[in-house]
């Protein structure tokens, strides 16, 4: 088993946290895992992304050039990573901030209005957790509980609740709306 994920969005969308949380969950599940941020000056005002590699074997390179899964939280990220996503890969799009027509034939495209859903939960900042939930439901490599457990270790109880709700909302959205996944053309 080997999964290569890129999470991308604006700075401030909790992109780094999302990637690290995924990595933690995988670590707890006994996988080999690496997490790698895009770092540095390009972050200023631009988009940021982080790369997660999860595997049953030692991870060779933490650098993901063509991800099996791309989680894109805004338009520039979608534009950047859509063409890089592996054939037959998965792309999760935050439709609140990014739009595409379903024109990529060889991809699983999962569209979710994460920012809007987060806003409904009370804070746009948990949009990252919404997409995490959707990812877990879609990929089924880790149980939902693993993620919730990992969440609990990293934040105060106050924040936990909101974040958990967001994960669950994303998970449910996926479960209840499988039809939303489309197979698009490039």
């Amino acid at each position: 088993m080997k999964e290569e994920i890129i999470c991308a969005g604006f700075g401030g969308q909790g992109i780094m946290f999302l990637g690290r949380l995924l990595a933690s969950v995988a670590m707890k599940e006994g996988k080999f895992v690496t997490w790698m941020p895009s770092y540095g000056a390009e972050v200023r005002g631009g988009t940021a992304h982080s790369m997660v590699v999860i595997s049953d074997k030692e991870v060779a390179s933490p650098v993901v050039t063509s991800p099996a899964t791309a989680i894109v939280m805004n338009q520039p990220s979608l534009d950047k990573f859509l063409p890089k996503t592996k054939p037959k890969g998965l792309i999760i799009i935050n439709t609140s901030l990014a739009r595409m027509d379903n024109s990529k034939a060889d991809l699983d495209i999962l569209k979710i209005p994460a920012t809007e859903m987060a806003a409904q939960l009370g804070n746009v900042k948990v949009a990252n957790m919404v997409v995490l939930g959707a990812y877990l439901a879609k990929k089924k490599i880790f149980p939902l509980e693993g993620a919730i457990h990992a969440l609990r270790e990293t934040m105060t109880t106050q924040l936990q609740k909101l974040n958990e709700e967001a994960v669950k909302a994303g998970f449910d959205f996926m479960v209840n709306a499988t039809g939303y996944t489309v197979h698009g053309k490039r």
Binding site: F10, G45, N74, Q75, P76, L97
Partner: protein, 67 residues
Amino acid sequence: MPSIKINKNRCKGCLLCLVNCPKGLLVKDKDINVRGVEAVVFKDSGECSGCAFCALVCPEVCIEVYK
């Protein structure tokens, strides 16, 4: 009558113009711009004095003032 023009797609939504306009003529946009930012828009109520405070404080050179 003075007025201003905002280059919305350059705007980074810092809101410095908004807090500095003595007449409160700048408001947050509901939409996001190409940068994914809630930009500001000019609410032209005819009160604009052309004081150019908004342009002076804008770090992104988004605002032009017409007198």
